[in-house]
Amino acid sequence: MRIIVPIKQVPETSNVKMDPVTGTMIREGVENVVNPLDLYAIETAIRLKEKYGGKIIVISMGPEKAVEAIKEAIAMGCDDGILLSDKKFAGSDTFATSYVLAKAIKQTGDFDLVICGERATDGDTGQVGPGIASFLDLPLSTFTSQILSVENGKITVKRLVEEGYEEIEMMLPAVLTVVKEISDPRLPTLRGKLKAKKMEIPIWDAQKIGAEGQKIGLKGSPTRVVKIFTPKVTREGEKVIVKDEKTLHQAIDKIIDYLIEKELI
């Protein structure tokens, strides 16, 4: 199988700090990591390769330092990587990002599967996977939680929906976005790290992938971010501290009164 895994490099979000004045993220001292939800896509691809053989190509659109993300994926067990980097890509929304990725995927030749993360932890739209499928006119399974079989040019998957699971069968090639439930990502091996370190990652620009100028970057993006602000996250209400029997009962009274007052009981 030939599998393409698009991954995004994102800022580590567990300790994101926001500038309270400008409402933008303070990037200084913030580490960049592979989008944590993309690790499940990488793991899924590696397991498919272990079972069916083949090759995994990781692609990422981003600045030059996104090469680190690609190398991490290779250290985990992916075979090749391509960095999509060009000033002209800057400011791409999900439409333009999906377009660039779809163009690059076509450029890599024949493939069986594209496996994306469910969403990126920064932009957080989850729109790029479906966007790629749409540009490539391929069948799509979002929120994929299990691969049931791959045979006779078809893949059968389970997807997580609101009230349970759905099973669908798709003709290959197809696009998947995967949820955490699908796998447990492995850690990079030492050998993998050495291999990744030595590897030259080719950089493809807009021209190489044959992207039309009016569909990429800020210019090619139909959406515009017009304002960014920090939500008022604090609603810090009353706090009741339980110290003894008496305060315990007071605390319970508070909860019940609250539920009654808000008509929640």
Binding site: E163, G164, E167, P222, V225, K227, V242
Partner: protein, 334 residues
């Protein structure tokens, strides 16, 4: 005059009440634009009373495509059918709920229409001067809110966070127009085959639709203690949620996980028990209307976003709380 469209969600033979929340949003936008509001409903065996209900809830028009080949959601066929409607009627605005259907279908359609799509919005408004749709959404794990426009292409598309607004109340006297459409075979070509739906029995109530969620975290100490959470949820008629740490430990299955790598919820009440309130957890529940937290650490982050915080040992608090709610309900019954 161009219309405002909402996608009415019809699955497993039923209209999802989320459709009425969208109509509430849509009504507000259509009024500001002085235009009409329409709902699109596609599926199989759509009942007349469902269509009437959409009208009572605010739709001036309902576009209906009823076909056995639309019985189950498949993005390829659903997209083709909706694209045909969009091409014919050219609405200005098209919104859907940010459910597994909306989040799959809308980006697929937006690309084909070469237009913009804003994800998981919590506020929608109209910019007076330009009559553009202003779409506000949380991003970066809920750390920021971004307002986004699609200034040059139509329709302006958005998915809307479920339960971020109330359903519009029914107006029994309201009349509307119903437009039935049919399409030929070509619209139903797909490289996907739907096999089956398997209901998750552990999920008594769909978490994303639950009015009340009682969620447990690592503070519960062990899997068996989740019984307390389940009992409390049951008493309140709510669903059970969990933090990632709990899911990773196998105390609860993944469909219950709330947060950045789990589900995003917005219930009327969220009770967080033994959950520290890590940013990734908060990202999935901070738009809940009321939040009550129980945690033994007075400095726990979860208190920062709680309307009511109880600092104490959950093992003391939960059993007593359960007992007192039972008493309260018994009293009510008499």
């Amino acid at each position: 005059m161009k219309e405002v469209w909402t996608l009415a969600e019809f699955r497993h033979g039923k209209l999802n009440p989320i459709s009425f929340e969208l109509l509430n949003r849509g009504k507000n936008l259509a009024q500001k634009l002085n235009t009409s509001l329409a709902s699109v409903v596609i599926g199989y065996n759509i009942k007349k009373e469902d269509i009437d209900e959409l009208i009572k809830r605010g739709a001036d028009k309902v576009y209906v495509v009823d076909d056995i080949r639309l019985e189950n959601f498949m993005v390829e066929t659903y997209a083709k059918v909706i694209l045909k409607l969009l091409d014919e009627y050219n609405p200005d605005i098209f919104i859907a709920a940010a459910t597994t259907i909306g989040r799959t279908l809308m980006p697929y359609i937006a690309v084909k229409k070469q237009t913009g799509l804003t994800a998981d919005c919590t506020v929608l408004d109209i910019e007076e001067e330009t009559e553009n749709l202003l779409q506000t959404r949380p991003a970066i794990g809920g750390n920021i809110l971004a307002t986004i426009k699609t200034p040059n292409t139509k329709p302006q598309m958005a998915t809307v966070r479920p339960h971020s607004t109330k359903p519009s109340p029914p107006d029994k006297t309201k009349k509307g127009e119903v437009i039935y459409k049919q399409f030929d075979n070509e619209a139903f070509n797909a490289k996907t085959k739907y096999i089956k739906f398997v209901k998750d029995e552990s999920q008594q109530i769909n978490i994303q639709d639950a009015k009340i969620i009682v969620a447990g975290g690592r503070g519960l100490g062990k899997a068996e203690n989740f019984k307390l959470i389940e009992e409390l949820a049951d008493l309140l008629g709510g669903a059970v949620g969990a933090s990632r740490d709990v899911v990773d430990r196998g105390w609860k299955t993944y469909p219950h996980q709330i947060g950045l790598s789990g589900k995003t919820v917005s219930p009327a009440l969220y009770i967080a028990v033994g959950i520290s309130g890590a940013i990734q957890h908060i990202a999935g529940m901070q738009t809940s209307e009321n939040i009550i937290a129980i945690n033994k650490d007075p400095e726990a982050q979860i208190f920062k976003i709680s309307n009511l915080g109880i600092v104490g040992d959950l093992h003391e608090i939960l059993p007593l709380l359960i007992e007192r709610i039972k008493e309260y309900k018994k009293k009510g019954a008499n």
